[in-house]
């Protein structure tokens, strides 16, 4: 599955770099885009990304309760839910997924990628 990753530069991007360095995935990560905060990612940006060849957009950012910009991850979560509703309503199989991580605890990325594959999440990787 082709996945475009959008990661915040505070938590998500360092975590993705660490994850891809230390792990392999069956998915094709078409690119990893760095943004200042997930809260800055608009719905239209995500939909535009889905117009291309990627099947999923994966947002990776700070945990909701400890977002560097306070509410960025919360806003992103709401937008992800809204976009997925829109995609479902339009009978489009592409989806957006969000994962909350810290640079020290990257196991959530694996769990999310496993979920995307439709396979059960394996035992969490120890940081």
């Amino acid at each position: 599955m082709k996945i475009l990753v959008i990661a915040c530069d505070k938590s998500g991007y360092p975590a993705m770099i660490k994850y891809t360095t230390e792990n392999t995935t069956d998915h094709e990560l078409t690119s990893i885009l760095k943004v200042p905060c997930l809260g800055s990612v608009k719905e239209s940006d995500i939909l535009e990304a889905l117009e291309g060849e990627c099947d999923r957009v994966l947002l990776v950012g700070c945990p909701i309760d400890s977002c560097f910009h306070q509410d960025g991850s919360r806003f992103a979560q709401r937008r992800v839910n809204r976009i997925n509703h829109l995609l479902e309503e339009a009978d489009i199989s592409k989806r957006v997924v969000i994962s909350f991580v810290t640079a020290e605890k990257i196991s959530e990325i694996k769990r999310t990628l496993d979920l995307i594959s439709g396979t059960p999440a394996q035992e969490e990787l120890k940081p």
């Binding site: 608009k42 719905e43 239209s44 939909l47 535009e48 889905l50 117009e51 829109l86 995609l87 309503e89 339009a90 009978d91 489009i92 592409k94």
Partner: protein, 216 residues
């Protein structure tokens, strides 16, 4: 402002039928503020249509309800098979008045004239009855906000200040009483309001307004 809600996507797709080139036209006024038909929403819908395989594009004009703003779109509309208007019903009808010969579809259901009461919440405030008497009721319109449009006091069914028809709404007459009490004008409630003349409302037929001094 005029508040609208986006139609379900399947309904929009069904309207498009065999159209391939589609223009999603947003409106930069009321429906932008109620987050259903502005530039952002037009872009989103166009994006969804492109994912579905349509050749879709989006554009937003400041006001779709005025020919002055939509006249420059004539050529653009000619280049597509269909237009989905995300304006209120007035905007859609204005687009039809361009006589483009193209299919123009409403992407929204126009719902009411209202205001944002808090972030993400809009409530109806005006029916456009054509004979405003809000000042007599401390600024709360009983025609719009009372489920029974009562003009001479509450129905008696409200409970804890809430409407008996829609218990999640405030009883308009409770609001009227509270406001007039604050204004020290409870005596106004003793005046019997005569039956309302509805001929000025939409029940009197299609309405029109003319300013002779502005005619060319």
């Amino acid at each position: 402002m005029i508040v609208g809600e986006r139609k379900p996507i399947p309904e929009i797709l069904a309207m498009l039928d065999d159209s391939k080139k589609v223009l999603v036209l947003g409106c930069g006024t009321c429906v932008t503020v109620c987050l259903t038909g502005g530039d952002k929403e037009a872009k989103e819908l166009a994006s969804l249509l492109r994912i579905k395989g349509y050749e879709a594009d989006s554009l937003t004009v400041e006001r779709q309800c005025e020919l002055e703003f939509i006249n420059p779109l004539r050529e653009r509309i000619q280049s597509v098979d269909a237009v989905i208007s995300l304006a209120c019903g007035v905007g859609v009808q204005a687009l039809y008045e361009l006589d483009s010969g193209k299919s123009i579809y409403p992407g929204l259901n126009t719902t009411f004239m209202g205001m944002p009461v808090k972030q993400g919440n809009w409530e109806e405030r005006c029916w456009g009855c054509g004979d405003c008497i809000i000042h007599l009721f401390g600024g709360t319109c009983p025609i719009t906000r009372c489920a029974k449009s009562l003009l001479n006091g509450p129905c008696g069914g409200s409970k804890d200040g809430k409407c008996e028809v829609k218990p999640d709404r405030d009883c308009a007459w409770q609001l009227i009483y509270d406001r007039l009490k604050k204004l020290n004008r409870l005596d106004w409630l003793l005046t019997i309001q005569p039956p309302k003349d509805w001929s000025t409302s939409r029940y009197g037929g299609h309405r029109k307004m003319t300013r002779e001094d502005m005619l060319l």
